[in-house]
Subunit: 489 residues, 2 copies
């Protein structure tokens, strides 16, 4: 449950050693672990295996408020064969396997709930096969989004999926990440062509066949999209083949203020209906705009606001901007300002990308937790209005920023971890918000994943039968429940 | 194997009754079948159950050359509860279940290889929930592509995926269909938001939770895309929630002739690289253009040709066309002609859509089989040139048409079913073509599916480990192997 974990999240001590009746089992496991560590060292060398407390703690948490759950050991494989050999050892000794990219997740996905072995993939950081004419590239799991785009700098191509953080691309595949420009370029689901995966028993598979990269296929079950979004619970992603896009000739950004949430969302729907191929359309509520103004010394009107971005040729941009400006004006939007130059655009998007820190700055010393519901577009005004009323009624700080073109928005909950009453109120609020989204045909998570905190909500969302199917798939691929146990299901 | 089935396909007799040692087993099954039919009638009434030979034969074949394999009985359920009740009866009596949409498939997917019960879904033909502002709609499995677009006529919305045939939308989901405008709007994989599925034991699940329709989600495993492309082997699709798009303000079509395959494909890559949001970009080789000229009394130059379509505002279309014209000219393209008026556009696309019949008209009395490989864009010139040489060397008729923006093309093989030597040469040719695609990082099927004919090729394409995972998934969801047995795996 989001809240139960939120509560536990705020205790920051590492996992305690078991006591009483569990001691003997622990001691058996401890011996198994020792033998496994020796075997890991024979595969990866001393430098590829770490038992150090600092290293373990660093790998026991992500950027969420979920508390640190360090693994027993961290391994640093350098190639898929090594990942496979290490996984076989874990399989033999029944040790949990937790894949680790950059630790920038937001749902506690890397916590070692049952101890075990963290597979840090940071040493596998090569861009392997770039096919410019085919608009595809294959990367190792340690390659981050920014590293890939920096590699692509002189090719005229880019990988657009942008969750904000400089996450590893295989980590992004794991959580089915998306972000600000999914409305134009899709999410990881639409942009992964093939995956190399090491299963719990060390078997290496290629979801679309080794080295294959057709842009479309009807060849058998869609294994690629079974692993995208599986949050490390079905296998370790060791290679991803991704779709690339031509860098647009020009980009224009714009900002526009609205009298109401409804007016901002109506504009969004109409822009999409008009076929404007908008690249980003981000909503910020009055509280978030206020926070951004303070944090970045800006002076946007403190009212519901859209930040927009257009990609295309200069000529098509003119038209896109002019249609959008007309639509926003018809909906009572004002102060429509657009910018073509890099500097003004960068300033505008910095304000949006700093939303997390701007929110935290509202209450220094506090921590933040981001909700992640997604609903059909037409339900956005109602859910945002109700959610804002809920925040006020419960005296909570939760500025709102959202990928409104997809119906996905975040309340960045700023809370004092030492105030149990507030922690409880945030817990109850996030559950109410998720249920509000479910009642509007939506989902409790648009892009962050289920991780630790949303397992009970997932069950409500999908119903017992679909959950049973998912459990069946998990049991088929990982019968010993070694892959990232305690997550998703 | 494509060829083995191709050979068997041309025997057109219905399935023979078993003889000898199998007779007793057959007689036991026959009794089970009789009891099942009585139970079907109690669920669906007499009019909902057919044992008539004509009806069974009509449901035992699709539009491919695979020979008719009629089911033992055809049922016509009217709602999901009925589908579930009928499936439970099949499950109890261990009878195969074969879902049937419109029978427009091209890989023999509806043949009842082991007899059993065909579930014709034609009576479930309602458009259920249209949400205009949310760009989504939910349809029953009997709703066809054209029926949906006709329903949407006055809404300003449309469903663009267009495989040519007026297939049912759930049938299209089953084979992961796409077609001419996938380059702009994606395939069924990208356009199905949720599915209602009846599993082999009659369990009803909703892949994204009942009634849910967020545009994106990270909530658990992607069950939706596990069933998309599963060709009826994992469950019966009884409802699909689909993404819709705004009808573009304007459409322009164009046609352009090239001195070589390479020049046509180079133009395609450059158009995509330039970020032109092209809606259709179809390649026809010289033989196909010749066939189209004869069939439709046209006079296009008999040389590699691109048919193109642009969607957008009038202003953006001007730019798209002008960029494309420049690119084609730089690649030696000539006779670039574009048309905005409905009539000229319709004439142009009629020529493309008649490709199948134009090919058949090359050799009256013959039958046709379409190959369906898909390779990375840059490999297209080589594979097309080698394939054309192969056709000539083996004295075969196989005009080529392709969705070149996706790297997917079809050889429409026209053959005399009574010439065993030619049948054998076509068999060997299609296998060589598929292996040529596999050697170029491609797939044996871009959009038609595996069905009966490509099972051995699928194994070559994916490798034994990925196949084992697929078999594991199948065994989990359908442990008795009742769902469309003998297909895909």
């Amino acid at each position: 449950m989001a809240g139960a974990l939120l509560r536990s999240a705020l205790r920051l001590k590492p996992r305690l050693r078991p006591a009483g009746a569990e001691r003997r089992r622990y001691s058996q496991r401890s011996e198994g672990l020792e033998r496994a560590v020796a075997a890991f060292r024979s595969v990866s060398g001393d430098e590829g295996v770490s038992l150090g407390e600092a290293v373990r703690e660093q790998h026991g948490r992500d950027e969420s408020v979920h508390r640190c759950r360090p693994p027993d050991v961290v391994v640093f494989p350098r190639c898929v064969e090594e990942v496979s050999a290490l996984a076989k050892i874990c399989h033999e000794h029944q040790l949990p396997i937790i894949p680790f990219g950059t630790g920038t997740g937001l749902e506690g996905g890397v916590g070692a709930l049952k101890g075990g072995v963290c597979f840090s993939l940071r040493n596998m950081d090569q861009v392997l096969d770039l096919h410019q004419e085919d608009f595809d590239v294959t990367v190792e799991p340690g390659v981050t989004r920014k590293a890939l785009n920096s590699y692509l700098r002189d090719t005229g191509l880019w990988f657009p999926v942008d969750p904000g953080a400089d996450a590893s691309l295989c980590g992004m595949a794991s959580t089915s990440a998306s972000g600000t420009n999914a409305v134009r370029y899709g999410t990881m689901r639409e942009n992964v062509l093939n995956l190399e995966v090491v299963l719990a028993d060390g078997t290496i598979i290629h979801t679309a066949g080794r080295g294959r990269r057709p842009r479309k296929t009807s060849a058998g079950y869609n294994l690629t999209n079974l692993f995208v979004g599986s949050e490390g619970t079905l296998g370790i992603l060791t290679k991803a083949t991704l779709r690339l896009y031509g860098i647009p000739e020009s980009m224009v950004s714009a900002v526009c203020s609205f009298p109401s949430v409804q007016a901002a969302v109506d504009s969004t729907v109409q822009v999409l209906q008009a076929g404007v191929p908008i690249a980003r359309i981000e909503f910020l509520d009055d509280v978030m705009i206020g926070a951004c103004n303070s944090f970045n010394s800006l002076s946007y009107p403190v009212t519901p606001t859209l930040f927009l971005e257009f990609h295309g040729s200069s000529k098509s941009l003119e038209e896109q901007v002019s249609i959008t400006e007309e639509i926003t004006r018809d909906n009572g939007g004002s102060d429509f300002a657009w910018a073509e130059d890099e500097e003004t655009r960068a300033k505008l998007w910095k304000a949006r990308h700093d939303a997390w820190y701007a929110s935290l700055a509202l209450r220094p010393g506090c921590k933040a937790y981001s909700t992640d519901v997604c609903v059909p577009l037409s339900r956005l005004p109602q859910i945002i209005v109700e959610t804002k009323e809920d925040l006020i009624r419960n005296n909570l700080t939760g500025p709102i920023a959202g990928h409104v073109g997809d119906g996905n928005f975040h309340c960045i909950m700023v809370l004092d971890p030492n105030d149990p009453d507030e922690v409880q109120r945030v817990h109850e609020f996030t559950e109410r918000l998720a249920r509000r989204a479910l009642a509007m045909d939506g989902t409790c998570t648009g892009e962050h994943g289920v991780g630790l905190g949303k397992r009970a909500l997932l069950r409500e969302e999908l119903g017992p039968m679909a959950m049973e199917v998912m459990q069946g798939l998990k049991a088929t691929l990982d019968p010993k429940n070694l892959m990232n146990p305690g997550k998703v299901l």
